[in-house]
Symmetry: C2
Subunit: 201 residues, 2 copies
């Protein structure tokens, strides 16, 4: 178990090396030492609709699905995999009830953060504030870009985009969840996949 | 002109009063005094695809359209109106070429910000950093929520949502731009509007 813990800390350190230009090695080590890394079994809910989000996560290993229930049906709205942060911004910032669920669709290893832990770390490492600010803005940019891509693309283009940019997802997540994630029914996705296979032949 | 300038500063102050719990009146006044407020004529481009975004804006009056060109067609991806910030996060944060255009679809009065002005203001008012951070997170939350709403709704529901939450937009923006903003053709939007009128009769 000690060995495992060491591995997890090393995985986090590997992720953090992208910030070496902004923070010293000692500062990065301090973050690793103070981080909570937890294993969550497949099927664990990190957040349920109606709860107020208190934690933010970073996926070191595994896959987390964000979904909401509409007219009795589960609709997947995001999948977070290795290296991606998992946040419920509106609920966490405004202390309001979340409108979505977060569930581990695989066994997951996640860092678990809270705003108070973040504040403590920023007190210890003042430069961390601007790093976090930059990361949040990058994240916002990703949402802005994804939103614009989603609005301007057809379901077929969205599926093609997944094939190109997140091919692993298609092996990790059932197709009906992929279908709702690109805004269509499972039947429509089957037709798209068939058309693409026919084209190849 | 002096009177006009005073009015604009007052409009900005009105907007900023929402932060009275976080900043003192003197601090808010300092922000107003140091803000650049500019009038942009209808048709002015704030950003063109391929440029690197250097400014961020806040709409005090008017409407800014975000769009990209795909297969020779303009596709609207956002409309920013009174009280909304206008940012091109990915381009500004990563210093990369913007994938979209920003154009004033009405005469607009905007505050014009830069990262260096923001840094100067944060030096003067250290608490401003956490206010900005909170605002960016709220903004991110809005994107996350809008994305999830867009994915899980039909074009008809998206139109209904605009009618309920942004009714002014429908009088300010041509219908074909509204159509692309909800991910459909102008013809499909006409059919939706006709169906809704028929239902009412």
């Amino acid at each position: 178990m000690n060995n495992n813990k060491l591995d997890l800390k090393q995985t986090l350190m590997q992720f953090l090396t992208q910030f070496e230009g902004f923070l010293t090695k000692d500062e990065l080590q301090l973050i690793v030492d103070n981080s909570t890394i937890q294993l969550f079994k497949k099927g664990t809910y990190l957040l349920k609709e109606g709860e107020v989000a208190k934690h933010c996560y970073l996926v070191l290993n595994g896959c987390v699905r964000e979904y909401l229930v509409k007219n009795g049906e589960e609709k997947s709205t995001a999948f977070y995999t290795e290296g991606q942060p998992v946040n419920s911004f509106t609920s966490a910032t405004n202390k309001t009830k979340a409108n979505h669920n977060l569930i581990c669709v695989e066994d997951c290893i996640l860092t678990v953060g809270t705003s108070s832990l973040e504040e403590e770390m920023c007190e210890l490492i003042p430069r961390l504030r601007s790093v976090i600010r930059m990361e949040v803005e990058k994240h916002t940019g990703t949402y802005q870009d994804e939103m614009s891509k989603f609005i301007t693309s057809s379901p077929e283009e969205r599926y093609q985009d997944l094939l190109e940019n997140r091919p692993d997802l298609l092996n990790r997540v059932p197709l009906h969840q992929i279908a709702s994630f690109i805004g269509i029914t499972a039947e429509s996705l089957s037709r798209i996949r068939k058309r693409m296979t026919d084209k190849k032949d």
